[in-house]
């Protein structure tokens, strides 16, 4: 066996991770660093970003405070970025509301952060030629956007479904530049996204048991799929929505 053979390595790659202060984004930043990447991490909260940074391995990482709900803030951040081999377009949140109680203001906030901001960030990176040929973009979609939606989560499903469709459009347009665009679509992952307690622990426990693999995802489960999509191992993969669901769609 050749110890240095690893098509999944991120050695020598520079990768931007948004929403890196918690959950999937934090795991993506840490795991990418462990796979050899130089990582630029971004989020709004500097304290929690520093916590992420302290867990990362290797040198050359940096953090960048950015409010992705503000296009000017995105443009300013992009101007200061190095050239990138990868983007983990991950920041997002949800609010549980049954259809009858969909609130226009809440829906607009969700759309801004979950749908518009990641698309504008990609546009800005492409416009400013910050994404290198051979580069890879990974969006955090959701199983809710392509298949199974839990009751009360329809606004989020709409926002993430838009991302899953957008990924295919972006993949077509950026293929000529040698840039690949994909999404991961996880089912429920233990990230604290439902920490507000709207859904009770008991309900979550029951739901967890519906998964054939008998657990929700861990942030690292998603990060490792992202690493595949960021690495040269997935050189022939673009425009896909990769489902990570512990088998829940089998039921």
């Amino acid at each position: 066996m050749n110890d240095s053979y690893n098509p999944f390595s991120l050695q020598g790659k520079t990768i931007l991770v948004t929403g890196a202060s918690s959950g999937i984004g934090r795991a993506a930043a840490v795991e990418c660093s462990r796979m050899g990447a130089r990582v630029v991490i971004t989020a709004r909260n500097s304290q929690r970003l520093e916590e992420t940074l302290s867990r990362m391995e290797g040198d050359g990482h940096r953090m960048c405070i950015c409010d992705l709900s503000d296009t000017a803030s995105i443009e300013e951040m992009v101007a200061g970025l190095p050239e990138l081999d990868g983007l983990v377009n991950n920041a997002g949140f949800t609010q549980i509301r049954p259809l009858k109680f969909i609130d226009e203001e809440i829906f607009k906030q969700l759309l801004q952060v979950d749908t518009i901001a990641p698309i504008i960030l990609l546009r800005q990176l492409v416009k400013k030629k910050k994404l290198l040929s051979g580069g890879s973009v990974v969006f955090t979609g959701s199983l809710a956007g392509v298949a199974r939606v839990s009751p009360g989560n329809s606004m989020y499903a709409g926002c993430k479904g838009a991302i899953s469709a957008f990924v295919r459009g972006a993949a077509v347009e950026l293929a000529d530049k040698g840039i690949r665009v994909n999404a991961v679509c996880p089912a429920m992952v233990d990230t604290g996204i439902l920490d507000s307690g709207t859904v009770s622990q008991e309900q979550l426990e029951q739901d967890r048991l519906r998964y054939p693999l008998k657990r929700y995802g861990r942030p690292e489960d998603v990060a490792w799929a992202m690493i595949y999509l960021l690495s040269d191992a997935s050189s022939w993969v673009t425009g896909t929505n990769m489902i990570l669901d512990g088998g829940v769609l089998l039921k």
Partner: protein
Amino acid sequence: METGTRVDNVINFTINIMKTLDEFVELFAELFDTVDPEEIHADTVFHDIDEWSSLIGLSVIAMVDDEFDVALKGDDVMNSVTVEDLYNRVVEKL
């Protein structure tokens, strides 16, 4: 003018916190489609209502957020027995 504004504020404030139990029961009853609102009272054991579901539980939380600006938790709904219990949890969090 100043006095008027102050009075308005007091009135708004009063409306905000003083929604009565009866009004709460009415708002609660509106969440159901197949239950006669007249059948729902302060002492109704709401988990026993046929149409009760986890989705209506989420609707209670959304209604309380909209009407009272209070963030009820799933556990508050699960651990309440009667509609009045729910109302009391809302009032506690005002």
